[in-house]
């Protein structure tokens, strides 16, 4: 059985190292926060917060306290607030240990495309380009293929890039792959998924 969204998030949470600062993107990456467990992880929200807490209880929403997805959230005893220039100074400056992001396409050299489809509505890159340029470990969580069943792990991205050679690890519904010299390496398969199935559904070069 391929992983569902929650299982992908649970697997992605294993990538986070105890005692680190981490930025989670919008979508499945947001769910990763549910699986941190006992690890001491401090979540950064790029609109200006370290130590992001859970959603507020009904009636306790604060319009001055939102995350980068513009959702209402809460603070923790360890929370710190700062301005956007400081926030991206820590991102660009390599202080954030890991970023978990969604993707439309990833290439075998680690190129990432996740912000724009030409001809369709363009919403913007937000902080994604800064994150992939500055964060030490970039983990992508994505479906292995598109709705038509075509590969999204490619030899070269067809969509406009978010960053070049920036992705370290890819977690899909079928398994886990690392970006290595010469292509992608299969690290793990989801239950009942074979390496052959991953190879069949991947355009990028798979190295042994």
């Amino acid at each position: 059985m391929p992983w569902d969204r929650d299982q992908m998030a649970e697997r992605a949470a294993q990538e986070l190292e105890d005692g680190t600062y981490v930025n989670l993107g919008i979508g499945i990456p947001t769910l990763v926060a549910n699986y941190i467990g006992d690890k001491d992880i401090t979540l950064q929200s790029e609109n200006g917060m370290l130590g992001m807490g859970p959603f507020p209880y009904e009636g306790e929403e604060d319009p001055d306290l939102i995350n980068a997805g513009k959702q209402t959230i809460t603070e923790l005893p360890k929370t710190a607030y700062f301005d956007s220039a400081t926030s991206f100074a820590m991102i660009r400056g390599g202080k954030i240990a890991a970023a978990i992001l969604g993707a439309m396409e990833v290439a075998e050299n680690g190129d990432l495309a996740n912000w724009m489809i030409p001809g369709k509505l363009v919403k913007g890159m937000g902080g994604a380009m800064d994150l992939v340029a500055g964060v030490k470990k970039v983990v992508v969580v994505m479906d292995h293929t598109n709705k038509a069943g075509e590969p999204k792990l490619l030899k070269e991205c067809t969509l406009p890039l978010t960053g070049t050679g920036v992705v370290n690890r890819i977690i899909t519904n079928l398994g886990v792959l690392d970006v290595v010299e010469g292509g992608l390496k299969i690290v793990e398969c989801a239950p009942e998924v074979t390496e052959q199935e991953i190879r069949d559904k991947t355009e990028a070069t798979i190295v042994n």
Binding site: E61, Y81, S84, M125
Partner: protein, 234 residues
Amino acid sequence: MKKVYGSAAEALDGLLRDDMLIAAGGFGLCGIPELLIDAIVDSGVKGLTVASNNAGVDDFGLGKLLATRQVKKMMSSYVGENAEFMRQYLSGELELEFNPQGTLAERMRAGGAGIAGFYTRTGYGTQIGEGKEVKKFGEDHYILEEGIFADLAIVKAWKADTSGNCVFRKTARNFNPPAAMCGKVCVMEVEEIVEPGELDPDAIHLPGIYVHRLIQGEHEKRIEKVTTRKKEAV
């Protein structure tokens, strides 16, 4: 030096002209200078270029200035929440310059700090880097980005004293300090103006030197996406 004005319109008096560059604070609808935006709508000034991370929603924040067609160009990182914005952009009526969020913040900070340009890895090898100078430092490629020197900054803080020293509240700080810094003139709206000495000088987020005019007012502070959890049964 008198900085406190009676209303947003009074505080903006003599500062607005067509085709000017305005830097605005706020992230989404959080910490936006909503009173000053309304006053700019009422002024009828047009042809504006606005540097702001987002463009508001259709009926709140910068979306109001878009609805009245007073904006010629936006410099933003994310504009996904505004249907009128998309309509104007796709029909060619509105120019849009995408800036990565951190690049936009640093361009404002740099402008305010007298730095004309800086090199960043962000955007190298992407559309954002096209046409920009590339320089290699060590093993990495960096692109040249320019500081923003705005004609006017409009920002929102939580509390300020009458000399403009101010504090922000939680994530409503966001782009407000860098936007304030990069304006030749900065007009700030706050929820409460206090006397000098009431704010701890060690806890000032933005010193009053960056704030030229100040107003106090009631803020709607609309929430864009209310997300909550249920209280667990005890």
